[in-house]
């Protein structure tokens, strides 16, 4: 999955949030707006420190609503721009994220979530209209560095907002990491972006959700425009599915997990396999588009598909939709919040995950 890198930068010990900020700058992000909220806060702080040094703009905004609309404005001018928050703050941004999807303004939203309860929010969207948000869920800081760069690229490629679904472990863990620039294919110039130069020419530009154009140059209008948007999301849905399947061929048991939780389950599953269990793991990397066909193939012949997610059951809807046999799908995760309310609870724990998987194996055997 990892595109080749063009350089071999030095490995540094960085907090995840700073690594993501540096990756965003490496991807030419030059505008960032955010409102403090844990565990998104360290990303905002890193941007506030690093962005001016890179000649960009970082604004500590008065509300998430302002922040996302500023980001939309900067992106409409053609600048690579990003905003972020978590849970409730992202909920406040949904109107503008929908607007950007429909007026085709590309930017990146960093949901440095407190847990995995924002799966529906990321994949279904809380805004209005027919749109989706392409969402990448890294399992660790190193992958978040790659995903950050990829998300700016994909946002521009499809002219749509994209989402990084992070969490406290990714935002606040200090790890050795390289900010290796991804070698991504060139993109066409942003000839749609607003620079103010087209006034009075008869061909001045518009960024407009309704796409009605001008009296002298009518646009497609909302009907044709929104049909085209829907077709675009269908194209993204088919083209951009990403996943990781480990030892899934012929596995009797398939564990499905995303994000940091998948790093825990991966370790547990490897251990169980070493002990002789027929078990594999499937990790959706894009939460939308959900890698449905790949999951169907990976779950072919499995006697049980165990979904471990730290919420009341959200991704399991997608797993049930695509699993080869939906009757064998069951959830082994659950709501588990740290008493501070700001991070995961005791369920994100390898021995507990192992216990739950073994219980599922025994129950059916």
């Amino acid at each position: 999955m990892s595109p080749a890198t063009t350089a071999a930068p030095r490995r540094e010990l960085l907090e995840g949030a700073e690594a993501i900020a540096r990756a965003a700058l490496a991807a030419d992000c030059r505008f960032f707006a955010g409102y403090p909220m844990s565990p998104f806060t360290p990303l905002l702080e890193s941007m506030a420190k690093l962005m001016p040094e890179a000649g960009g703009v970082c604004i500590n905004v008065e509300s998430e609503i302002e922040g996302v609309n500023m980001t939309l404005g900067a992106a409409a001018a053609g600048t690579r721009a990003a905003t972020g928050s978590c849970g409730q703050g992202i909920a406040l941004m949904q109107e503008a994220i929908a607007e950007a999807a429909l007026n085709e303004t590309p930017f990146v939203v960093f949901n440095m979530a407190r847990n995995q309860q924002d799966y529906f929010q990321c994949t279904r969207g809380g805004g209005w209209g027919d749109y989706r948000t392409l969402t990448l869920a890294p399992k660790d800081v190193a992958e978040a560095v790659e995903h950050t760069q990829l998300l700016f690229h994909l946002a521009d490629r499809y002219r749509a907002p994209t989402v990084l679904y992070g969490d406290p472990l990714i935002a606040q863990t200090r790890v050795g990491v390289e900010i290796a620039p991804l070698d991504l294919p060139p993109l066409p110039p942003k000839d749609w972006a607003l620079d103010g130069t087209q006034g009075g020419t008869g061909h001045s530009r518009q960024v407009w959700t309704w796409a009605m154009g001008k009296a002298t140059e009518p646009g497609p209008g909302p009907d044709a425009h929104w049909q085209a948007i829907a077709a675009k999301f269908e194209e993204i849905g088919a083209a951009e599915q990403r996943w990781e399947a480990s030892e899934t061929d012929g596995a009797e048991t398939l564990v499905v997990a995303f994000g940091s939780a998948a790093k825990f389950t991966e370790w547990v599953v490897e251990g169980l396999r070493a002990e002789g269990h027929s078990i594999g793991q499937f990790r959706p990397i894009t939460l939308w588009p959900f890698p449905g066909e790949a999951l169907a193939a990976a779950s072919e012949g499995a006697r049980r598909v165990l979904v471990f997610e730290l919420n009341a059951g959200q991704m399991i809807d997608d797993v049930r939709q695509f699993a080869a046999d939906r009757s064998v799908v069951r959830g082994i995760g659950g709501v588990s919040i740290h008493e501070s309310g700001l991070s995961y609870g005791p369920l994100l724990d390898a021995p507990e995950i192992r216990r739950r998987i073994l219980a599922a194996l025994e129950e059916e055997d």
Partner: protein, 267 residues
Amino acid sequence: MAVVNTDRPPAGDAARKVADAHPDLILGEHSLCPGCGEPVALRLLLETLQELDLVQRTIGVVGHGCYGSFVRIMDIDVLQCLHGRAPACATGLKRVRPDTAIFTLQGDGDMVNEGLAEIVHAAARGENITCVLLNNGVFGDTGGQQTATTVLGQRTKTSLDGRDPERHGHPIPIADLVAGLDGVGYVARGGVGTARGVARTKRMLRTAFESQLAGEGLGLVEILTMCPTGWFVTAPQGPDYMGEAMESVYPLGELHPRAAAAAEAAA
């Protein structure tokens, strides 16, 4: 209910000449009601851009209201944004393109109801943008409901017996509020109900853009505009109604002159 004559003045009539004249930046006829003040304000705005030679370095940021239909007839780069959020979108545009002239176009519902936070914070941040408020004291686009600037006693579809402070609260004089903030470069209130008001409003717009170009901070030009449809009066009654009902509450004039002008006046 009186039927408003929507015919243009007869050919050869002096008024016809005025009705048909438009600057190069207006691409077609507006679709707003007879007697509406907003097209007058649009014309002043576009003429000002031409006179200051800003046409090819300007981006307009337009909110949601009747004036939203101007996006189709103004030959200027435009971001059509969400209700209330124009100053935030304009902030993003201006910060990454500091050499452009940025204006926002909002109504009273857009700026003072939905987007009060955005205009106040943009002003306090001292964003170098020119914000234009078309204030008619009513939600015109949705058919005449009360806004945050509806004056006391004014009848709307949601204040049928007139705006009563006990039940409906008090109007917000946004320009006065913003004028008191550090971070603003220029704040003025004009009106397009009279020829004098039109000429004065145009000077205010010009001053606001000059202030933006000088990097003095946020400029706000509130323009009182007639909305006979939303006021339930005839088109010819609009200017007089505006003068009596609105200008007494929202007096016209410069509320925060440019610093240089203020210093000159003091000396």
